[in-house]
Point group: D3
């Protein structure tokens, strides 16, 4: 099973025919792509491994991507994924909308969050190989295949600014409050595919790296809330959630638009009483936010390891009314 | 000496005739304004006391302003300043350009920095008094005076959104890096009078409150640098600078555009060696940034308490070249 | 039959999955919602009663809404509708696009049309009730239901600016020509959900209150015309149309994009000859304009009281060619 | 005395060197320009006669301009003014900023105010004359002159969209409230030279033609107020002000930024008691609004016919406090 | 077979219900439209004849359109097409998005490409005819028909700026490099229906007239490339392609988004060796570019004269690796 | 005489205090800058040699600049100019406004004119030298000097995007008409310091390299015209003007705003009769365009080699009226 054969779709919205929305997939591969290349005419692809480093051989050169890094392949670019370890697993997002770009930092200033200088484009590399290669081309929502007489990964040099790239998420310069309160998740935005001004983006990638939390006079976790956007969160390293019962690398969860969510009962009680000294939060998570409702596939509804009772951690909640 | 009579101009740029730029003044008053009111047709006025609370009686009602707070009086609004303590001293900035507004927070999200909900407009209040009052009106760079038969502070109710307001700078929700590096000063922006996109604003007010500093793998103070804008900084509470030899409340300093500046020698050496655990920085400072060169008045050049040798703290600097 | 059960869809366009377009419904209720609450994750809802005052108990507090007023419930907010009279009937619009906002007034100035100061947000109010409540949630075009152990209308205080509100349409400050000609209907715009610049909005609400008509040297009604947008108009109070044969409160009509329409024969002849002195037009109407073609439901095609021959009032039209 | 020789400057702001601001002049001519032409490299010129029709022979053709009309000559265009009656008097404004354009009508719709179709560009016309002509060229604030061997008004045809034009102000489609309240003066905007978003335009021309006033539940004249902009108003036909003691054609007045103004005592009392039936306001006025303070020339301070006591009409004002 | 009956759809994207995208049709008519008129409520229509002049009688007047010209009929306008020769054939594009407009020329300056002055609107013309006429109305993707008692082409005069127009493509002022390199096809843009900033327009019309090609130090044809947009190209006069085996008037080809394309083998070899003196390229082509993938109809897949082996001209390509 | 001492100002506009406008200088140097460095806090500096290559040693590294190239030094950056030949002469422009940027290419596409890839930033370079250096700092229109204990050109590495750069103007990819007519000079724009939308830029640099001219059915040179902007043109290589009597490298001319200009009599007659085959224009010119009037210095009025009678080449002009 290679990177293409081992791809399962979890959820998505919009359409490549309208060039809006996104889809989220999980890949689990046990073999390199052999004599085949892939190109996606519908979407740029963001690959976030959580298990096993991979080598992405593109028309522009080679990107080696390990857990903790992500790679982006622009629309229409041919590439092949080779495994560098026995297996590979991770997330792949298709963005049907405007290409991901660095968001405007605004008052954050000339640097911060994902700094442009930390993105890495490949050096040109090529194969000189003349045996037939299968090209799988995704276009208008379908996969098409054809045989090429030789590898198309034969570009000896290139110039321009539409290029594959990779980024080490541990270099993310996260910001946070230095005084009090809990900032909005937008403060973790690494890449943005813009949508409308008010209603949220087409697709934003948020990176949540190890960081200090220092808020005083505040409830530090996010309170109960509803969001205007759909949120898909996943753990790449470490744990998320309460000290016991949290989720490890490869876990993910979806909160669709306007669904109420917030800290589970144990987390709630813990942070109501905790002393507000500086604390270092570990682990590495990412989150996709999209303004459009996510529609979940059958695979998504039946994914192996599905939580048997996702509402359980909130069951012991004691009504605090009035005023407890 | 009342608020108007005790006003001295330190520096400024632009012009009220062109409606761009700003001026910075220091007021030192020992008496309330008696039978006179002031209105400024050239500029909105930002008042930042560093000594002595004052009561500003405006056409819209009363603002009581203590050190740690600032008040804003819009263009053309009549008001009187009364002293609530034996003396009053502080800074007053005239903004000749577009009115100060809350800056776009961008990725910082729906709240943070100076939150709209923390600004306080006065409740309507009026005087019913029929003795003559002197009106001093600043217009086109000059002061004009006339006698009014009765107080103009006789407005019994009002509706609208151009109003005087005050703000407690200790409520400022400062942001900072939660990981590494030293963010740009724009991250402290409380109010902005916008100018051109690239070259900096007409006048921005930055508030630097007590806050946590947690950056790892970083030199924590600002390094040596030159700015595209002029910076006027002042201390409202506590100390600024090195542990010894710093400056107290009422101190101020000006770095004009492109002037090199950075930590003095002692601060430099201290932070090269300090252990990078979370530390809490105290005090309250503010800073004005303006894209236009500040021209300093004679008063500014001869202000009482002028530092006798401002370059002294950098004199012991040892060249670290190559590689020490 | 409560507010939810008595809802019938007349027409609509766009889709909540794409977050564009709108739908128009008619509600006819004879009972309050008992032990159930509703939330709409697809759309904000605009409620315009034409018969019977209602009480809308929301998470933010209570809005009492009578004919002549409208209420807006933002996306995702839970609420319940109680009847204050024996029955309730009116219009409900779902807006799938950007939230309604006050339009830019432009040259009209700092006030006019629907003034911000006339919109009323509720004071916080809550229930302390612990019996089960059914939650009906509209999401992605479907209705979902679940049981909650207690009322969710238990919010004791709130802060922010996404709030339900109501507005008394008799406070609308309508503008019109003071000289000659017939202005475009946009001059009645109360709320706007913006779309593209040229092709018309996603959904605009127009309010047409009692007003003076003074145009000289003009044919005062709208002449025959085709619009780039679809128009749904309804009468809330008084009559619309010719002195005889007009339509009363609760009537509505739809002119889809580019459909020719204009004054019926009697109105045409009346206004060709009427003396152009100031006249006061009475009644209260509203209109929705949307750039997208309205698709009419079966209910809309078979609505009780459907006009048997809508073209009849134009049948007696006499061709005035050449030059009569 | 021809059009150029008889020009007196009343007030102005900004500078042609900076291409912002405007100047307002009065011309009084008793002769046509003979063997001389004028071109203004600093400003486009707006000519508003209040006495005597003129013929403006431009490089693009001939504009005949009577009181009630205005003409605009773009920057740098050569022209000559001939008198069509024994004398000519009127206003001339120089606009140093962006060219006047039709303002965006916004919600007013696709037509209204000054309709594009009512502006008249000249048909090409030329002279074939070979005697010397004096060219007076205004540039960088100075007048320069040279001799040309023949008339430069020899253009036999032209194509383009930078053209002189004229407009009949009685065709202005004024808007006003159809219900209640007193709209802002921006609703009379005919032409706009834009400036900054918030602080008012560089120069706006407002036209106030005969019109119906129908506001109910309102004080119909403008109340006492202060403006963010300077206002220069003038009467072109009829009277302005109270029924007795008003001002006739050729009168003008200046309210600089933030100067309090409002109805004189008689007008105030009249409109506090008047019955609010529709009334037709006659006469023709225009107004210039500019964001920059107007500086008045010596001529402006000593203009013949200067009002001996401009504050007199407000002297009898009786304080209405509390509650009379 | 008249213009309506002889219409076949080749490909399209988007939807009139969403007001985005476009469709491309081919018409082949042998008769004038007799007693019927057409109006399109879904799209403006661009008609580009390649065979036989036609007369388009619209509500605004008559446009006579010959091969080499195109005509545009706005949304919702009624018209009839008469043949001026024995047969008529050509292309018709429906634009569901924002109306075509002249693109911003930017640095190209105040003129160039399709100059506004070369577009021709009709003079008003009307029929006075009282026999029944069939109206075919396209709306929401369907054709509807009704009988009118008399011709609707009875408009005796009109005013406004939404009008049918025509344009002679031989007047197109094409730009090109005057030095080296091969500019992007956008340099041929005649009309644009804008879409998103980055991802390409909703629909752009490019005109490629006879022109000089002078690039030095360059490979003059477009190299092999992939486009972010779909391209539909057609020949209106002359030939396209290699000296032998090119395509004549009426030919068309579609390159969907991201499909690799470039010069066939013969053209490649020719231009690798040709001497780079100025050469005049003849013929007249047009191209539609659209950001959305084009979906091809059955007619499009089976169109008479379909190329039996479109990849054949590239078959003899000799791999030039390394370095031949 | 070094680069600083040999600087003469020709003309300018605006002001560094207002950060708008520009100044144009000529430098003539016979020696390298010895023990002194310069920094300009008022303006970025554009250096265009016409005689003698120079080496610019900046804080970022070394730029070697020969005639045919230009260099840009950002505001506030310290540098030294060394001569690489016996003498050096050229133009230097100060830009007080927004930094020069590459203009938007618009329809020209993703490449053309000055391509980003052809600009060259220096590799970091430094001096390790400890003898005193004079720093000359231009700020607020004045030159200030101080002694530094050692060279400030001691930066061993840098990162960022505000950097000095150079550009070879022979790489400029000039565009032109491929059919007919004479495009506007904006088509030669290499760098732009933007100003207002309509009235022209603060300062644009135009590059006019050797290029093909192929316009048919056209008068190929610019006709007589007046510009909204001031134009300063200079010859860097070859000749400008008529075949005899043209101007060589180092020549320059100024056409202020709205001054009529066009081809001299000989050029006019030549191009009225020339056969319109492709022709190659040689030489290298540049042009500055600025919206503000240029004020000429005494040096500019008395510059050595001033043309004794600049109007002479137009003296023989024969009036062609009517119709010759």
């Amino acid at each position: 099973v290679d990177f293409i054969a081992g791809m399962n779709t979890v959820c998505g919205n919009g359409s490549p025919l309208q060039q809006s929305g996104m889809a989220i997939h999980i890949y689990t591969a046990t073999a390199s792509m052999r004599d085949r290349v892939f190109a996606n005419g519908d979407a740029e692809m963001l690959i976030l491994p959580d298990l096993g480093a991979i080598r992405v051989f593109t028309e522009f050169g080679i990107l080696q991507v390990s857990p903790g890094e992500f790679a982006l392949i622009p629309k229409g670019i041919k590439f092949r994924v080779d495994l560098l370890e026995g297996q590979a697993r991770g997330f792949m997002a298709e963005n049907f909308g405007l290409p991901y770009r660095l968001p405007e930092l605004g008052l954050i200033g000339a640097h911060g969050l994902a700094n442009a200088g930390d993105f890495q484009a490949p050096v040109a590399a090529y194969e000189d190989q003349n045996t037939p290669v299968q090209l799988v081309h995704k276009y208008a929502g379908n996969l098409w295949e054809t045989q090429l007489p030789a590898t198309p990964l034969d570009v000896v040099a290139w110039r321009g600014n539409l290029t594959p790239y990779k980024y080490d998420m541990y270099r993310f310069e996260a910001m946070g409050t230095a005084t009090w309160d809990h900032p909005d998740p937008s403060i973790f935005c690494a890449l943005s595919s813009p949508g409308d001004v008010v209603a949220g983006g087409n697709s934003d990638l948020l990176v949540i790296p190890p960081r200090w939390i220092v808020a005083e006079r505040s409830f530090r976790p996010p309170g109960f809330h509803r969001n205007t956007v759909a949120e898909f969160a996943a753990v790449l390293e470490g744990f998320w959630g309460p000290p016991e019962g949290g989720f490890g690398a490869g876990s993910f969860l979806l909160h669709n638009n306007w669904v109420s969510h917030g800290p589970d009962t144990k987390t709630l009680e813990l942070f109501r009483q905790i002393e507000l000294t500086p604390m270092k939060a570990g682990g590495l998570m990412f989150m996709f936010e999209s303004r459009y409702p996510m529609q979940v596939t059958r695979y998504g509804h039946e994914v192996p390891g599905l939580h048997p009772d996702p509402a359980a951690p909130w069951q012991d909640f004691v009504k605090k009314f009035p005023g407890k």
